[in-house]
């Protein structure tokens, strides 16, 4: 049996074991309060921006919540908290996800990348970040981290997208300021194509 499976088997087992604690108090009971904080079955390892972070995660916890409230990675924004806006977009194994609608427990042993993880060690910006600056892509900037992540995912997969491909790939990120045109300019610039 492959090691990953067995590890997940183990985690499933411990999560299941927490039911006893929970079910007795009914489904509205607060697990967090029922068991000592940091109870072992909730302490999991997450791979965030290449680093392993140990964190105490409630079974029902959403990734955006873990990032912002537990790991202080506030670059990932929460707006609708419903998967209707895209401000919370992060990459999981390179694919864009709404972190407000992703169970933290489902990203164990997967690579999570947030906007904080794009800058090089020496502070050099990711080409997308630089292009968004050069094209003055953001307005209010609240949706920008999500826009950046969607653009990064696109360029990882398709280094020279057409503007229409970019438009489709970015279409899961709202911008209430209406800066779409400038974001697309930014994507095209980041891909080395004149916008």
């Amino acid at each position: 049996m492959n090691p990953q499976l067995s590890r997940r088997r183990f985690i499933k087992a411990v999560i299941a074991s927490s039911v006893a604690a929970a079910s007795s108090t009914g489904f509205h009971s607060a697990l967090a309060q029922d068991r000592p904080r940091g109870a072992v079955e909730r302490l999991i390892s997450l791979n965030i921006n290449g680093q392993t972070r140990r964190v105490d995660v409630a079974p029902q916890e959403m990734l955006a919540h873990t990032l912002r409230y537990k790991l202080s990675l506030t670059g990932t924004k929460i707006s609708c908290n419903r998967g209707e806006c895209g401000t919370c977009t992060v990459l999981i194994d390179g694919i864009t996800n709404y972190s407000c609608s992703t169970l933290t427990h489902s990203v164990r042993s997967r690579a999570v990348q947030t906007v904080e993880g794009l800058q090089a060690a020496d502070g050099t910006l990711h080409p997308v970040q630089q292009a968004f600056i050069d094209e003055l892509s953001p307005q209010c900037g609240f949706c920008t981290p999500g826009q950046v992540m969607s653009a990064v995912a696109l360029l990882n997969e398709n280094p020279t997208p057409t503007r229409e491909e970019a438009r489709q790939a970015m279409s899961g990120n709202l911008c209430r300021c209406g800066a779409y045109d400038h974001y697309l300019n930014g994507v095209m610039r980041a891909s080395g194509q004149s916008s």
């Binding site: 209707e84 003055l136 900037g141 609240f142 920008t144 279409s171 209430r176 779409y180």
Partner: protein, 803 residues
């Protein structure tokens, strides 16, 4: 053309870096020790009275720190919005808040609270309240008129016949609350070759800024620190202090970045004061993260119009007379006042010889309304465009010609008082746009292709774009740096930075050598205007200009005092003050600053003009002795309306079978005087275009009239435009003719950028449908399909807040 070093040049605003790296902090990104999280219970009922609150179960829960109710905050007189209320007047009106160790616990507590509310009559469509026997949104009445003479409730009812006639498109004969007019209306209509008469609806809709109006607050020895989501900065201070019941000196507002405002965060809104009261009550820092749904409820919305207009045009297309009647849906808190602004916009953009405006603001139990990007001007822009087209058609003229002959220019007079404008070049804008768009040629192209039909549209947008009387504050430190202190809020227009460059321009400073101080009251900011009404560019190039001129004067005085001669013998450049004859003899800005500190007095801010605002005064006091201080109130001459103008040309391809249309091309032209920041201007023009596209096609309030329930409380249901609902490329340009009343010739543009867009689209839709006028925004696919297949629309004429 001018020879400015900074004005009219692109630059990278200092806050962009933080936005692309995620380091930019918004209100809810702040954490302080001991901070607890608050959640709100909002009214499930459109109108009612809270008779009982049982929070015992909630209070008993582990992790629950406290509960805040209306009794803990100042009572507010109807119809104004309260921080918390026991008399909810719309679904979502905040009733209480719970603070707990985390948000989940706070929500568990909310779920355990039992609140009894006794229902009262409610209404969601103004006409349903206006009709005899209809319910009133407030016990005090169904109309609330605000005016200089005084504001107050009234109960206004129209007979069923009057309502029916209004719906049928006849001139309203019912009672109204406001009226103004100029010129001879009868003569105007008598002179007209054609008279167009239409009724219209523009449904209100939510602002839905990306950042919900989160706030966090804590107290430190008598001072309240508030991290808020503020559209303006220093302009917020007096209002927020009033809400908190403290003086501005005891308030620190931190708002470095704001996730959009669009008019919904101009001044301090009640909920921003909730954490302050809560923190005071429980003695811990409190953060209130408003949910997306609550942001819909209390994030305010555009005022809806239900109106009637009669407009006369002479043979050459000149507007001879306009008679307009507007019922405005002012929600439950009687906020808005868009209607009169709409009338003003007509008087400016189309400049009819004679005009009458009548208005009636009607309360509904829907979300609070507020200024929304071009409040009034943009609703009427959407209404007017197809009317101009119809006039052109009936007169056999080119729609462009009709707009040009009426276009606002330097001779245009505005409003009842018929005052002048500082300058206006709408005709030039139209000419420029028509060229970029290739209007003439496109008009010749075939219209129909299978089920698809092309439509061309022209739109014009306007908003008064300037304010005066605010303060400028700059400082030069011994290290030679120019510090520009600005109280301009950062809502994403970059005006806080672009207007700061005015000071650097005057003092001929390299931008690299300048530092902007903003977003935090402890950074010693001057009293500045609201970041709304497109005023910032005009107002704050002026404040920074006067502050810089004050600094320049002082520098020359110091130079003369130190190196001899008269101040006028000196000139500046390269961050030096030197003798005009002998540039070698001079002092660096740094040296001047050091000298200013030695001299003290007005030079380093020990003394300051007495006409500056107390907020500016405190800032100067704090800065005193740290360098050469330039501070002044903007007393530069200013008369007449300061117009921000824009026009747009659009081509759509409308599918008659699906009711959907695609925007093939969009050209937006700004007429905002000198271009201050080209990239920023393009951003505003394009963002405004997207807003116009949303208003034209998608966004509207929908309320179930039987239960008073809102249908669209989220981004999806609100129909916020996405990447795929707007063109991939939008083209923009600017007339770039200096305005005489701004030292750099600049005026604002934010709002007209949207008005021209929605207008161009209503015009294009009408053109695609052989001149059919829906007289309504938004125009959704179902309406188009119904029209094309000859079916009735599902709604009553003039019905609003419906699909």
């Amino acid at each position: 053309m001018n020879d400015y070093k900074l004005v009219g040049k692109d630059f990278t605003p200092p806050d962009v870096m933080g936005k692309v790296t995620g380091k930019a902090k918004y209100a809810e990104d702040f954490r302080v020790d001991g901070m607890v999280f608050a959640r709100m219970y909002t009214s499930p009922m459109a109108h009612g009275k809270v008779t009982h609150i049982d929070a015992s179960a909630a209070e008993a829960m582990d992790g629950v720190i406290g509960i805040l109710t209306a009794d803990d905050v100042p009572a507010v007189e109807a119809p104004n919005g309260a921080i918390l209320t026991n008399s909810p007047a719309f679904i979502g009106d905040p009733i209480l808040a719970v603070a707990a160790v985390d948000e989940k616990t706070a929500e568990d507590a909310l779920a355990a609270i039992k609140i009894t509310i006794e229902p009262l009559p409610f209404v969601t469509d103004p006409l349903d309240s206006l009709i005899a026997g209809g319910p009133d949104a407030r016990e005090e009445g169904n109309v609330y008129a605000r005016s200089r003479e005084g504001s107050g409730f009234r109960t206004v009812k129209w007979t069923k016949e009057q309502i029916d006639d209004f719906r049928a498109g006849k001139e309203p004969t019912g009672e109204f609350a406001a009226e103004w007019k100029y010129g001879d209306l009868d003569k105007g209509f008598a002179d007209a070759k054609v008279i167009i008469e239409e009724n219209f609806v523009t449904t209100g809709y939510a602002h839905m800024s990306m950042e919900p109006r989160t706030a966090m607050a804590y107290w430190q020895n008598g001072t309240c620190y508030v991290h808020g989501s503020a559209q303006s900065h220093t302009f917020w201070m007096p209002g927020l202090a009033r809400l908190l019941g403290i003086e501005t000196k005891d308030l620190v507002l931190i708002s470095e970045n704001t996730g959009g405002g669009f008019g919904s965060k101009i001044g301090a809104y009640p909920i921003a004061a909730l954490p302050g009261y809560f923190s005071k009550k429980i003695g811990r820092p409190v953060q209130l993260r408003v949910t997306g749904e609550q942001e819909y409820y209390m994030g305010s919305a555009r005022v809806g119009f239900q109106g009637w207009i009669r407009m006369g045009f002479a043979e050459n297309g000149k507007a001879t007379a306009t008679d307009v009647f507007i019922i405005e849906d002012i929600g439950a808190n009687a906020t808005g006042g868009d209607a009169s602004s709409a009338g003003g916009a007509i008087s400016l953009v189309y400049d009819p010889d004679a005009m009458r405006f009548r208005g009636l603001p009607v309360l509904t139990n829907t979300t609070p309304r507020g200024a929304q990007r071009g409040p009034g001007q943009n609703q009427i822009a959407a209404v007017m465009a197809p009317i101009m087209d119809k006039a052109a058609r009936e007169l056999g003229l080119d729609p462009l010609a009709v707009r040009k002959i009426n276009a606002a220019n330097n001779a245009t007079t505005v409003y009842e008082e018929q005052r002048g404008v500082t300058s206006a070049y709408l005709e030039e804008a139209l000419t420029m746009g028509a060229e970029m768009f290739d209007w003439e040629n496109r008009r010749q192209q075939p219209k129909k292709n299978g089920s698809k039909v092309r439509g061309l549209g022209i739109g014009q947008g306007y908003h008064s774009a300037g304010a005066t009387g605010f303060d400028g504050l700059i400082r030069i430190t011994p290290d030679g740096k120019l510090h520009i202190h600005t109280g301009v809020g950062n809502l994403g227009t970059y005006s806080f930075a672009s207007t700061s460059r005015a000071a650097a321009e005057v003092l001929k400073c390299d931008w690299e050598n300048c530092e902007i101080h903003n977003g935090h009251s402890e950074k010693n900011l001057p009293w500045n205007s609201y970041q709304a009404g497109s005023v910032s560019t005009f107002a704050h190039t002026r404040t920074n200009y006067v502050a810089a001129m004050d600094a320049l004067r002082k520098m020359k005085l110091i130079a003369a005092d130190t190196m001899g001669g008269e101040p006028d013998d000196y000139d500046i450049d390269g961050q030096r003050v030197f003798l005009t004859e002998n540039a070698a003899q001079g002092m660096s800005y740094g040296a001047i600053a050091a000298r200013a500190i030695q001299l003290g007095g007005e030079y380093s801010g020990q003394t300051y003009p007495d006409d500056i605002n107390e907020i500016t005064q405190r800032s100067v006091q704090n800065l005193a002795g740290s360098g050469l201080v330039g501070v002044a109130k903007d007393n530069l001459p200013q008369e007449g309306t300061i117009p921000g103008l824009a026009c747009a040309f659009v081509e759509i391809e409308l599918d008659l079978e699906t009711g959907k249309y695609e925007i093939l091309d969009y050209v937006g032209i700004a007429e905002c005087g000198t271009v201050l920041f080209p990239a920023g201007l393009a951003q505003q023009m394009k963002g405004g275009a997207v807003w116009g596209m949303g208003m034209a096609a998608l966004e509207r309030h929908v309320y179930d009239p039987q239960y008073g329930l809102p249908a669209n409380v989220g981004y999806h249901q609100c129909g916020i435009p996405t990447y795929l609902d707007v063109p991939s490329v939008t083209r923009t340009g600017a007339v770039d003719i200096a305005d005489p009343q701004n030292p750099f010739g600049a005026r604002g543009i934010g709002e007209p950028a949207m008005g021209c867009s929605v207008a161009a689209l209503t015009s294009a839709i009408s053109d695609a449908l052989d001149g059919h006028i829906f007289g309504r925004t938004p125009v959704s696919p179902d309406m188009i399909v119904n029209h094309v297949t000859g079916r009735d629309q599902s709604f009553l004429p003039l019905q609003t807040n419906n699909f």
